[in-house]
Assembly symmetry: C2
Homo-oligomer: 461 residues x 2
Amino acid sequence: MLSERARAAFRSALGTDRVFEDAATRALYASDETPHRVEPDAVLFPASHEEVAALARTAFEHRVALTPRGAGSGNVGGALPSPGSVVVSFECMRRVLEFDPANRLVVVEPGVVTEDIDRLARTQGLFYPPDPGSGAYCRIGGNLAMNAAGPRAVKYGVTRDFVLGLRAVTGSGEEIRTGCRTTKGVTGYDLTRLLVGSGGTLALITEATLKLLPAPEAVATLRVCYAGNRDALAAVSRVMRQAVTPCALEFMDRRAIDAIRPTGAADDLPGATQALLMVEADGAAADLPRQIAALEKALLGDGLLDMRSGFEPEVITRLWAARKSLSHAVMRIAPLKINEDVVVPVTSLPDFVDFLEHTAQAQRLPIVSFGHAGNGNLHVNLMVHPDDADEMVRARIALEAILLRVLALGGTLSGEHGIGTEKRRFVPQEIDPVTLDLMRAIKRQFDPHGLLNPGKLFPDP
Amino acid sequence: MLSERARAAFRSALGTDRVFEDAATRALYASDETPHRVEPDAVLFPASHEEVAALARTAFEHRVALTPRGAGSGNVGGALPSPGSVVVSFECMRRVLEFDPANRLVVVEPGVVTEDIDRLARTQGLFYPPDPGSGAYCRIGGNLAMNAAGPRAVKYGVTRDFVLGLRAVTGSGEEIRTGCRTTKGVTGYDLTRLLVGSGGTLALITEATLKLLPAPEAVATLRVCYAGNRDALAAVSRVMRQAVTPCALEFMDRRAIDAIRPTGAADDLPGATQALLMVEADGAAADLPRQIAALEKALLGDGLLDMRSGFEPEVITRLWAARKSLSHAVMRIAPLKINEDVVVPVTSLPDFVDFLEHTAQAQRLPIVSFGHAGNGNLHVNLMVHPDDADEMVRARIALEAILLRVLALGGTLSGEHGIGTEKRRFVPQEIDPVTLDLMRAIKRQFDPHGLLNPGKLFPDP
């Protein structure tokens, strides 16, 4: 629990009405999308940069660990309270501080909901490309912490590519400002991108200047069915080898298709469908037919069962809703999913998905795969019953085999979910000891007492 | 000079034939594109990652400062030998280690010429977007150090946006590997982008994995003449406010136009032309007319004198050659240029260029402005006679006023040239002391003895 002096100091920094220590609040902030629960000692709700700076100074002085939190919608424990820590919820910091359409930028506080940024931008003919599946409720601060992405990343890039500058507070309570307000700038080291994806372990971000792009005038969707995973993924490679980059290139395996059947979105698929691609192009309405023709040509190939475009808007909406629901829909298969978002080179996808299939059979586990195939980024879900000890052992064996295969193929452990608590023990398999030590040394410069989100991202030394 | 023991150690690390201490070589490597000369103690020519690691360990053991160098084509003293240092030339490390068109990547050593990467990519229908003016001879290692850019950055981004991963050697001679080979990856801190733009002060980059994009099928160029700077720059704002982002949006003021007259590229401009835009669109040939029509609509406005497209290829080649020659052509105005590459928000360009004009008149100096207006990135050249002490004082006053105005407008000191030796005294005007101290602390983690490119990027403490 908080010491009497720390409690008083936090209350004096934020006011008594934004320091919560009651059991109900602590229980409410004990979890994220992982199955774990760790109750924080308290939950703080700062309302401004100045209050974040004040609470960080207090935490520094009293050596209180802080767990920053957006919506708690992360998959890897990034917002799971570190034991003995205080949660810093950014929910009250949801102001748009500036919207400058003529210079294609917006300045936001970390508690702004991601889709609200996109919605605001579109009022002026602009858009904010990153579109994580949780976009309707996740907060931009969490997106910045984890370098979130989504389907559109294949054409437009990830959160990191849309951050021009940041205002933040270090682990010693000091304010820093990184980057700039323009699309070019090379003054000093690039601390902006160092903070993006650092999982709240380097600084508490209090303001972000985000780059916007002109909104595409129109979108067209292709739904493409194949007789097997290899056929679909070979088509993905063909798409990425030609000139028209789609704004979404999503893959679903057979189990993922089964998981969306209750939504009705799979009703009219050919019976032999074993894999599905959702392919989207965007741009000027006059240019879409050309793009779609080029994509159709690339998608044509072995195992193609059906390729359709020109859907009614409500069909497309239902298809995307089904795709976005997958992350939760798979829970019907088993009560617990072990959820990886690995990345492999696009050309390695067919072999990798074969390996997943063999691993599923060998370990007698359902493995559901879907995701952002155009980036080589698959969501691999091992569906398990946590009460079945034998199954849990097999799941662990499967998981280790999968991650080793990812690295052997030249891939990476996480494409957009981050490391958090869940994957940190695997990090030394990807990052060599010297580089990892350097990252830890950098961490100490930002956070000398290790108070910011301890126990995340790095393996125990 | 090198100590006897350090000399022996470098010779043993690289072989005697790649350690040069003769006067001619030292003189040859004493300068870059700044007017300064500092002779290094020696010049080393490593041929592999292993040799770079060996020389860095030697330098660490004997406390020898190192100045990394590509082609020496930088503008800010980044490759100017630090006093008492040894130059590490990457000219012998010019292998393409891997070219994987299907995964849209190339792995190169730092001595590869930038345009050669683009040329290689195009053999497989891909391209490498960053296109600095020195692309025909600069080395990718220098581009990585300075985060180089060029005209295409307005649509495609800067060097930083095309680096997936790096292999490098720290100031203590240790190998690090950063990033990954895929377009997504969030495992660990983003040391890749921290190294890009760090001016060789954090590590010696020995390999870079670069992202490629599908090459645009065709390009179309507009040449647009205006009666004044404000008219041309208002048109730039209009272009950046609509949906078609050009792949170049270059501005030249009257003095820049005068500077290219000897090439013949300005022969057919209307007599009243005071400012010129070069606007380029790229993409599918079938889509270019639509893009050009949208750009023409945006470019139409006050002060428009002439707008032409559909040039013969040789006219466009001559126009671009003239544009790229500007950096040297302005030297006809006066023997020394003080060359800034400041950035301001696009909507501030008209006021900023007015301010430059007033400053030029007040300080009785020719100031030539041109550059990447779509990014708000102008090359501002104060043309001076170094022997004229009074003029040099006025130039200094003008420079300080210009940089202060840039910062007051929400801009940044450098868009693509970097800081080097030339601008470091101005850095504290842009970066606050806490953030600057943090950058210095990060530097010490990579380079504990301060041996990598000392005296660059940071102001003296």
